[in-house]
């Protein structure tokens, strides 16, 4: 991408960090307002998609290599499941967060935050992966 897209480039450089922050904000404020892990993941990923759109897939791949997205993808599920396992190990049922802390509320809160984070991780990972694959194919085709 030559400097043809200078407008896009500059603006998106400006915007990407705030978008990511917004994503994380949504992630952690799901308790209070609308939103939660899923939406946060999507927003976070969309920041990344924007980056990939502007700076190209290759750069995007450098910033988020395959192993990283893969790890995000997997660890989100693992985190979610793990919270469940831990809670059942601690004597509650599966996904019974109340036992995670001394206080029911604190436990629930901790649990919810953790699993939402897991959701967010997976979703972000998934979205980035899917997008990059699609876009990567596109590039590959152009090269042909």
């Amino acid at each position: 991408m030559l400097n043809q897209t200078s407008i896009l480039r500059v603006i998106s450089k400006l915007l990407i960090p705030p978008i990511m922050l917004f994503g994380l904000y949504v992630q952690f404020h799901g308790d209070f307002g609308p939103g939660g892990g899923f939406q946060a993941g999507v927003i976070f990923a969309s920041a990344f998609i924007l980056y990939a759109l502007i700076f190209g897939v290759d750069n995007a791949r450098k910033a988020a290599p395959a192993w990283l997205t893969r790890l995000m993808l997997a660890s989100g599920v693992l985190l979610f499941g793990g919270v469940g396992v831990v809670s059942s190990l601690m004597g509650g049922g599966y996904l019974n967060y109340s036992v995670l802390a001394n206080d029911v509320h604190a436990g629930q809160h901790l649990g919810i935050t953790l699993i939402e984070f897991g959701v967010g991780l997976t979703v972000a990972g998934a979205m980035i992966t899917i997008f990059l694959i699609f876009d990567g194919l596109l590039r590959a085709e152009e090269e042909d």
């Binding site: 609308p34 924007l50 596109l138």
Partner: protein
Amino acid sequence: MFSAAALAILVTMLLVLIRAYKGPTVYDRILAVNSFGTLTMLLISVYGFLTDRPEFLDITMVYALINFIGTIAVSKFVRFGDLAPPVPENDPGDI
């Protein structure tokens, strides 16, 4: 008051939609969709005030965001995708 605004927005949406349907080029549609997105943002915000629960502006933000990224993606797509719309390419380099 807000309802008047909401009504105006709805009418506008309708007009914009007409453009989106009529085309005639892809770009007109994109333009229309983009405006439509803005209108949606406005509508949601206004509706929030209409029902006295204006806290949900986060949604509006998401819309703004998605609208932006969506349009960028779209225009990038029509620019670089190998599927330029069926426009006779008489002399592409000329303005």
